[in-house]
């Protein structure tokens, strides 16, 4: 059946959510993820090849989507290098020259996690706000850890950072998140009750 058009409508119904979820995890942007799903199907239509084995359709579509995601990142990082954090300034704000916490940055001596914190929308919002404040490169690295191993290596290449550099940036990004949440959340956690 060489000329049968691919059953796009059914595929979108059957696999659209899975593709969207995949793209969203990799890009963290719902509008972009929806566009990438569309690009995937567009690619399918443009060089239509009939697909026979139903069980492999999703794998095949995800494969196309993965290329679209890589293309997206490649273009994005080529166009504008990601904003770098000011490493020295940040380090000096958190640690003294001897490597101890500065007075302003020091976390409290105890940490008590309230139950169901991860279901608390206010906390999740605070977390998202802190993520938004990170320099773009730091954020990309932090979120890169949750990509698969393959994508994470690709990301390092795209960002032109060495694995060592990756871990240094990861350390700073995480400290930055902890400091931000300390201001936004942990500090007041015990006060209100």
């Amino acid at each position: 059946m060489p000329n049968t058009p691919p059953p796009i409508e059914r595929w979108l119904h059957d696999h659209g959510d899975a593709l969207f979820q995949y793209a969203l995890v990799k890009t963290n942007d719902a509008d972009l993820a929806a566009d990438l799903v569309q690009d995937t199907f567009e690619a399918v239509i443009r060089n239509a090849r009939p697909f026979e084995a139903q069980s492999q359709v999703r794998t095949w579509l995800i494969g196309i989507l993965r290329h679209k995601i890589t293309d997206y990142y490649r273009q994005k990082y080529r166009q504008q290098p990601l904003q770098q954090g000011d490493d020295a300034q940040f380090d000096a704000s958190v640690f003294t020259p001897t490597g101890h916490w500065t007075a302003e940055s020091v976390p409290p001596a105890t940490h008590e996690e309230e139950p169901h914190l991860l279901d608390n929308p206010a906390f999740l919002k605070a977390l998202a706000l802190c993520l938004d404040k990170l320099p773009a490169l730091w954020r990309a690295v932090l979120e890169g850890k949750y990509l698969g191993e393959k994508e994470s290596k690709q990301l390092c290449q795209e960002l032109q950072i060495s694995p060592t550099n990756f871990w240094q940036i990861n350390h700073r990004a995480k400290l930055n998140m902890q400091q931000c949440l300390q201001q936004a959340w942990f500090k007041s956690e015990g006060d209100g009750k």
């Binding site: 979108l12 119904h13 969203l24 380090d91 001596a109 350390h171 300390q182």
Partner: protein
């Protein structure tokens, strides 16, 4: 070991785990430094929260699907 080094070890521990000797050094530091212990708890919490948001189930809305179909038909 100072706190800067301890927090770096915490990050490595949360991602890959640490070799026994470094694990011991970190614990030793944390026995004297409650603050770095707290840092580990908070960092681990952030890790869990970020992972959770990545694992949530997201779906295309019916409108999004309709828009995609409409655009695809225009090709």
């Amino acid at each position: 070991m100072n706190c800067r080094q301890a927090t770096l070890l915490v990050e490595r521990k949360l991602t890959h785990g640490l070799p026994f000797w470094q694990q011991w050094r970190l614990r030793w530091h944390q026995r004297m430094c409650a603050v770095c212990k707290t840092y580990e708890q908070q960092s681990e919490l952030i890790e869990r929260a970020m992972r959770q948001s990545k694992e949530a189930v997201y779906k295309l809305s019916d409108e999004q699907k309709a828009t995609i179909l409409k655009r695809l038909k225009e090709i």
